[in-house]
Symmetry: C2
Subunit: 415 residues, 2 copies
Amino acid sequence: MTDLERQGKLAKQAAFSLASAGTDKKNEALEAIASILMERANEWLSANEEDLKAAEALGMRSSMLDRLSLDKKRIEGIVEGVRQLKSLPDPIGHVDSMDTRPNGLIIGKKRVPLGVIGIIYEARPNVTVDAAALCLKSGNVCILRGGSEAIRSNMCAVRLMREALVSAGLPEDCISLVEDTGRESARELMHLDKYVDVLIPRGGAGLIRTVSREASVPVIRTGEGVCHIYVDDEADLDMAASVLYNAKCSRPSVCNAAECVLIHEKVAEEFLRKAVPLLDRDKVELRCDERALSILGERGRAAEEADWDAEYDDYILAVHIVGSAEEAIDFINAHGSSHSEAIMTRNYFKAQDFLEKVDAAAVYVNASTRFTDGFEFGLGAEIGISTQKLHARGPMGLQELTTIKYIIYGKGQIR
Amino acid sequence: MTDLERQGKLAKQAAFSLASAGTDKKNEALEAIASILMERANEWLSANEEDLKAAEALGMRSSMLDRLSLDKKRIEGIVEGVRQLKSLPDPIGHVDSMDTRPNGLIIGKKRVPLGVIGIIYEARPNVTVDAAALCLKSGNVCILRGGSEAIRSNMCAVRLMREALVSAGLPEDCISLVEDTGRESARELMHLDKYVDVLIPRGGAGLIRTVSREASVPVIRTGEGVCHIYVDDEADLDMAASVLYNAKCSRPSVCNAAECVLIHEKVAEEFLRKAVPLLDRDKVELRCDERALSILGERGRAAEEADWDAEYDDYILAVHIVGSAEEAIDFINAHGSSHSEAIMTRNYFKAQDFLEKVDAAAVYVNASTRFTDGFEFGLGAEIGISTQKLHARGPMGLQELTTIKYIIYGKGQIR
């Protein structure tokens, strides 16, 4: 038995205890985690400092260093997140429906945890606590596998959280970390079907693609976002410019940011006249098809074929001109990543048509794609945004970390 | 582009049309399918006859030949199933919930089809029509990949169904068959991520394991059933014997049949005295642990380690004696396949404990595991019984062939 198999087995055992732990017990553990992370923040900070030193020595880019680094304020934010989870309703135990069948069997559908969730992520130490707390609240055991750059920070955070679990009377194995950050351990985790019920990769597109391709454990794909704003000829063009600017520039690195604007040919010139000054504020690079380029001149540059499928995560926007709303819908269904898509229009029928025909997790009329988010949707928390169709689609909150169990009360019925 | 990629692409295109087809249109197509299969049953029967001749020539076992064969009565049953689907409610378009957020965004969760479903199955020609009709009613396009033994029957059924689709004004590519039944084509289908949204393997455990291991397309695992009946010391022993006999013998080849009985030591002798005469009717072979063997003597035979995890699908039953309900629960969680599990008891607390702690799709108190079935659960139809936790658990009806799409109505909101 390998180390990871042993870890998986302990996790599975812990999952049986945690599944029957009540809400009070889980909230007590969350509070214990919040307290210990605040009280012993210095331990966590000094582990993080070591990670930072090692990363700097290896020449890590400053934007990456920033993601890796913790400070008092960030820890306060993380702890605040853990405490917020306490106040959210516990999804476990809810009976979605219960009915009596003609033969007298009483059949109910009860919400239960998924079991053991593997989280594979990169160098963000905040994910360690966020993910563990979300899993805990939803009755799931987690096996965390973070990047090597954050290993000291992660080991410290997990050690503290395990202490907190024990102090609250729950098995420490409800939260564990894969300490070996080599490639082989990740691969092994992806095939630990016997003990792991679901894998959720969190991070860049490369990581997510690798995990979905490689894993035999079921995977929930999250976070690939090639989102479009379609500006119809019947749009309120000022509103459309404001929404486009928000969707592109309010936080270009996230998956719900827009990567491409589609503009109806009748309004292309007028719309661009309104939108470009906004995009100028952030020096957004515009990659244009021929017609857009003829309008924008030197402000644009010619797009290549790959631009129509690109997730820039940056101040870059693809610009494509279309002849109709239908053409925009077809373009989106061919090039989008089924994440978030928006139409800007005053026309009722086109709005309804867009909602119906665009195949994506979230389809908007006259609003920014940036709203696709667990908090904005009122889920109270979020473990990621699913871009697949199975199990969960769009923002995943606590409810999406559950499954159901049929419970059946009989009186000796046979078939 | 390979043949299968071309087929996948056509399927995906058809999926966009079918997703917006209304209930009336889909029901019209189901009626057209039912009619054509009845009217031209002779074509289907003669194709089936050719399959049967070829299979006999290859020396197929008679039980397999029986699965492969069609006759007028079986076709009537299949057609009746298609007509029943017409009368079921259409799950598509239902808005599960809709709310207005504090910023005025109106956010709804709307039921939509999964898209393109690949069905990989063995030599049962009835699955061809059942699966196609279930997919059609739920707005999903299907790509069918049946066994080589039934290829002529399947080609004929699919040709007739495609004619029916066209006559009802739907794209013929809503239903298609992979005509190449070689291994390579199955493998290619398992990796057709670009066009196929979900794979549902239907058939034996070997097939299902291969598909789950191999596929990069998300898979729903169905039908592995290692089910237990636990007879508590506080059980009504006559009721328990009747339930065990039903669970084992009413249809041993199916996944919800019991494979193992766990008996509390206090009642083992008395229970077996009641149960064995029933099991004798079907000459059920009893594979026993040491203590059961000492009670049963020559009526039993010693179990091997592998018996505790076996899915016999036959008139064989493993018999294990336990010291408590807790021990039974642990045994089930260690050896069961998370399909269907039952406790027989008069004790309220043990019943509730069993429902809570056993990790399975369906957990019963005082009833036969044989009820785990879409029709018995009132779903009206069934494409299979999921033994995984993601997306769907237990019997899968039309609802389980859908996903959701967030639809969002705004007034220019930005974040």
